[in-house]
Symmetry: C2
Subunit: 493 residues, 2 copies
């Protein structure tokens, strides 16, 4: 029998059995109770300590489960050599070289992610930007918290605990009906069965890339295009091929030539308030794009991320509205109008394709969060979405006008910019090219944060462009920020 000294205190916070566990653990870890040494029988230890035997049994059971004791016939317990729990040490390296263990694509996506991060840091370092003209999600000061709260209350009252369960993998059915109704306002006729609710539109792009990914396949994108699509498509083993944007939209002759040369998985396009240029294509352009892809049997991924932000007058209807051949896959989202933190978007497409995307989504994340879907549904059904959209249209129409006036007044000769009919993005062209880092450093003293052009181009490299967004600042801030930018630009443009 090993000598073991256990001291119990009834005053301590921890229960008696826990004190026994801790002291035996320490004795074994410290080597005072060497492996193989016998512990006192539970009855004996209980008598010795003047406590109930069941307390000792409880402690021994836990020590056994934790690997500190082993029991042998005759109900004796022996100390076991046991590896210690590892204390936290932020410097301890892994013995596995993750860079080698991970795929080549995963190293590439890490590189892209890091490239975005230093840019953020450079921006952050520059005199604390007071004006955010970089973000493209709307000003949270405009989120109707009271209306949101009301929707939450409705959901909790009506649904009970059902709103906290997994729910329909394709998406909450009433929300899919609401989405189908909203799409009809934009000329798109689909039923809830052709809609898959996604964890934001970003997951929509990911699911499509995963579905269509195959060796030798390319994704055709506008150049420039949504910067966060590029690393994602490449991570999914698709080669990215850019077709230049013209002031009227993607160069369709260029697209025709490109499609003749490659195996296209799909063409990714943003016909309204294109990110980053703000360009909106005409109906005729949409028909031609559709015809071109239809003849070549290439699916079109139409990103309607700001479909609802048509505040600047009439705009052509989505490609999806005239898609008789069912080749258009339409991506929608609530995140670019309200509540990006809820992460609710959707895909609408041919029913068979929706089924295929659902299978991927089902196994990769089970479902989109049920609570957020119900709140969003209720928010729409209470008329709060429409009401807030009207309010946002009024506000953004004025904000865009202020921005365009300020550009006219403040920007140096030689700089040009687009005049969007909705959405948030204005694309500025300078007379010279700059790398993203260089441009941010030059603009930092102005205290205004913009989005440099470099990451929007599939080929990357220095760019003569940057994106201004009116999503975050109010009218006064826009005027002030563009004035500051103009002064900064004069110094080097």
């Amino acid at each position: 029998m090993a000598p073991i000294l256990i001291q119990l205190s009834r005053k301590k916070d921890s229960p008696l059995y826990r004190q026994i566990v801790d002291q035996v653990k320490s004795s074994i870890d410290a080597g005072d109770l060497p492996p193989g040494s016998t512990l006192p029988p539970s009855r004996q230890l209980a008598e010795q300590l003047g406590i109930d035997r069941s307390t000792v049994c409880e402690a021994y059971a836990e020590l056994q489960a934790l690997g500190y004791l082993r029991s042998r016939p005759g109900s004796y317990h022996y100390a076991e050599k046991r590896r210690r729990e590892v204390a936290y040490d932020p410097q301890r390296p892994s013995t596995i070289a993750w860079a080698e263990q991970g795929s080549a694509e995963s190293s590439e996506v890490l590189r892209a992610y890091r490239e975005f991060s230093p840019r953020r840091e450079a921006r952050a370092a520059g005199d604390n930007p007071r004006f955010d003209l970089a973000s493209i999600d709307p000003d949270p000061r405009l989120y109707p918290l009271r209306d949101f709260r009301r929707s939450v209350r409705h959901v909790l009252d009506a649904a009970g605990t059902e709103c906290l369960q997994y729910g329909d993998p394709q998406g909450y059915e009433p929300l899919r009906e609401t989405i189908a109704r909203r799409l009809r306002l934009h000329g798109i006729s689909v039923s809830k069965d052709e809609i898959l609710v996604t964890h934001g539109a970003q997951q929509g792009i990911d699911l499509l890339a995963r579905l269509f990914s195959a060796p030798g396949r390319s994704a055709v994108v506008e150049s420039p295009t949504y910067s966060f699509a590029l690393p994602l498509l490449r991570f999914n083993r698709l080669e990215v091929v850019g077709v230049p944007m013209t002031p009227e939209g993607m160069d369709l002759d260029g697209l025709a030539r490109t499609l003749g040369k490659i195996r296209a998985a799909f063409v990714y396009t943003m016909p309204n308030f294109h990110n980053p240029t703000g360009i909106t294509t005409a109906h005729r352009h949409r028909e031609r794009l559709l015809d071109l892809c239809f003849r070549r049997n290439v699916p079109i991924v139409e990103d309607g991320f700001e479909e609802e932000m048509k505040y600047g007058g009439p705009v052509a209807l989505p490609l999806k509205s005239i898609d008789a051949g069912q080749i258009v896959v339409y991506l929608g989202t609530f995140s670019k109008v309200l509540f990006p933190g809820l992460r609710i978007g959707w895909i609408t497409a041919d029913k068979e394709l929706i089924g295929r995307l659902l299978a991927i989504k089902r196994f990769s994340d089970l479902t989109t969060n049920a609570f957020g879907q119900r709140v969003m549904h209720r928010f729409c059904e209470l008329g709060l979405y429409d009401r807030n959209l009207r309010r946002l249209h009024r506000l953004f129409k004025r904000k865009m006008a202020v921005a365009l006036e300020a550009l006219e007044a403040s920007f140096p000769a030689g700089t040009t910019w687009t005049r969007p009919s909705g959405g948030y993005a204005i694309w500025v062209t300078m007379p010279k090219k700059f790398s993203a880092g260089d441009l941010l450093r030059r603009l930092a003293p102005s205290g205004v944060d913009v989005s440099p052009g470099e990451p929007y181009f599939p080929r990357g490299g220095p760019s003569a462009h940057f994106r201004l967004s009116i999503a975050r600042p109010n009218e006064a801030e826009i005027g002030e920020a563009i004035g500051r930018l103009g002064r900064a630009l004069r110094a080097f443009c």
Copy 2:
């Protein structure tokens, strides 16, 4: 000038400009206004209709944006041939053969998804199951809606609109701190920096599979294992290699032989309350598994999906707690205790690996939903998680005892089952093998829904097993359901 008859009504619901738009659209669509025909100048049409000219201009602008009119010098407007909006037709097929356009892996995952679905249908068809012993997410009757509501209120009061924005891509920082604190209770010492919040533990598996996927790589799993992991790993181009489960856990000699033969991306294991068998491994087994993988430089993915459900007495600590080499990637989730609909899980691992996984997550879905994360964080910080966990432990301890007693009393000789020390799953072995469909048909008359063994095995095929789950039914329902199952089994076992 084409003859055009426009009739306005001031009584109609729709505004005057909308009536003009609709009537011109119809005339063009119907061919009454052939392409190229001129429309009356706005001033003339305004006079003719007795309305303001600006109303006509507004209508013409919209018709132009929609592609129905073109303007030419002299401000004349001409009708344009325009493709009609496509009406909804659920029967209209796509001109694209999605099966050919999609990858081979996507067809495979669809097949797997469909295989799960008929099973559900077969179950649903069987006399309306009144007892769900198939689901492994907990009884929603036990969700503390009042506590949830309180947490929501706190978040909305304290955070304002911030809770509806995108938030930190790695996960809401205070929630990561809460998770780190909870992990310490299970012997795992990490900081918030080694935690990545995911859209449920399922996304954790997906991110790891995506990271480690490379040609010729295999994922080693227990056989049987979590059924929803299998199609997901395969979709990610990993070959799945099963190592048999013994009553003590994965056969480690078998694992050693397997690792000698293949290029393993990782070993996926569930040491506690293994799904589907309910088996919990001893500390010694965990040390040996860790040593084996450490020596071979193979990462371990430890799925701690029911770490918190240790209601049946002490259980060994996670592999991660003794992972000095930082080779263990630990997956956790809130979904198997409370609120699966919030979709909040996490990965904790070596910081460099977390950075690599974050890059993939960042581009594939931006962030996990911010609102749910904040509610979950508040729920924990208010002490509601601990309180509810204690309640669940009391309830489930009784439920498991009732289930094991009922099995003893009702199941026919020749059937055997595991006796789990926590969690929800009991694994039943019958004297004969059945396909999933066959077993469900035979059990359907009992009105009890169980989970057949077939999909849990990497190789599939008829199985002598099924999984019973005590997650959903209450004590009375468990007793009744197991009695009914016993009677049904007697008929064919």
